[in-house]
């Protein structure tokens, strides 16, 4: 992607990011107002997509500068260099957010915000002591009171308040074709090499947030509301 990032204005949860890109407009869209065609192309390219080290792009905020459009030989489409600002979901470190519990696993509690799904609260960041109930596949907080331990379950669908502790960006751009390794040179008469395990890649989320709920006020909203 030929997007160049200039400045990110830090604000809360949603950030305005200055970007530069050359937008290609096909000839059949020439009847549209240039600004509308450009806005459409930018949204088509970026909306609901994660930009590496930037965040989840939501929608175009505005166009700040537009250079002249060019038509290159051999391609009937016009190319326009555009400076614009895009609304990006990128919470800051330590920000407090509210989401819903998607499901629990050995890895921790998976939280979703509807428009963003890849939020994980690892077991060490849960209110302690915490236990994973294998049968019900749910994490629970063994809350100690004077009357004894009270198990607070972290059920699916419950609203949960958490603090952002870390973010992980994974570059999921396609890699080139796998290069043949030296020892797969099959000799006549021998069986073929090891099964192509590498062909089935594990799908990794391009942008993951790690959170914590081990603080007063964090965790299920129902724990703290009277």
């Amino acid at each position: 992607m030929c997007c160049l990032l200039l400045v990110a204005r830090d604000c809360i949860m949603f950030v305005l990011v200055d970007m530069v890109d050359t937008v290609r407009i096909s000839p059949w869209d020439f009847h549209k107002r240039l600004n509308d065609a450009i806005a459409e192309e930018l949204n088509k390219k970026l909306a609901n997509k994660v930009v590496y080290n930037v965040g989840l792009c939501i929608c175009l905020y505005d166009i700040t500068k537009m250079d002249d459009s060019f038509i290159f030989p051999g391609d009937g489409a016009s190319h326009t260099k555009v400076n614009f600002r895009y609304v990006v979901f990128h919470p800051f470190l330590d920000e407090v957010l509210v989401g819903k519990i998607k499901y629990c696993s050995q890895e921790g509690v998976h939280v979703t915000m509807g428009f963003f799904d890849d939020i994980l609260i690892p077991p060490e960041s849960l209110q302690q002591p915490a236990k994973f109930d294998e049968a019900e596949q749910v994490w629970l907080w063994e809350y100690e009171t004077d009357e004894g331990a009270h198990d607070l379950y972290m059920d699916q669908g419950e609203e949960i308040r958490f603090r952002v502790t870390d973010e992980v960006f994974v570059d999921t751009s396609p890699t080139g074709p796998a290069t043949a390794t030296e020892d797969t040179a099959a000799q006549p008469g021998q069986s073929t090499g090891p099964p192509p395990e590498a062909a089935v890649e594990k799908k990794e989320a391009p942008y993951t947030l790690l959170g914590t709920i081990s603080e007063p006020g964090l965790g299920l909203l129902s724990w703290w509301n009277n």
């Binding site: 604000c11 949860m13 989840l56 979901f89 407090v96 915000m113 007063p216």
Partner: protein, 136 residues
């Protein structure tokens, strides 16, 4: 400064605009924008920012000036509308040192007064609500 309210307003306006654009918005290329807009609006409509307006935000920021909170802290309060001391302590760094108990109470009061709350949540005493509405 970009609060949740501004994003909510931006997406709501964009949605209105796209309603008038006709069939174009269902083309394959626009699906991603539709999805993200729908989900983000769904999320934000359940937060305090959906009940805010530019005037409310302005009034809130003016009233908050003497409390000397940072921009990030004010924005978090605006977006979450904390109602208890515990929530305030989550959003304001070192709140025990910077704010006294009375100041925290005052803050909670100010927030409750200026930022509109969830009508469902506050319907616990419908008789009192009706009375207040009549008197206003």
């Amino acid at each position: 400064m970009l609060s949740n309210f501004e994003i909510f307003k931006l997406l709501t306006d964009l949605k209105e605009q796209r309603k008038d654009s006709g069939k174009n918005k269902h083309s394959v290329g626009q699906q991603n924008l539709n999805t993200i807009m729908y989900e983000t609006l769904k999320y934000l409509s359940k937060t305090p920012c959906s009940r805010q307006s530019p005037e409310i935000v302005k009034e809130f920021l003016t009233t908050m000036m003497p409390h000397k909170l940072t921009k990030a802290e004010k924005l978090q309060v605006l977006n979450h509308r904390p109602q208890t001391a515990v929530e305030i302590q989550l959003m304001v760094e070192e709140s025990e040192e910077r704010l006294s108990e009375e100041q925290i109470e005052e803050l909670i009061q100010t927030i409750a007064e200026i930022l509109p709350g969830d009508p469902e949540q506050e319907n616990k005493t419908p008789a009192e609500m009706e009375e207040a509405a009549e008197n206003s």
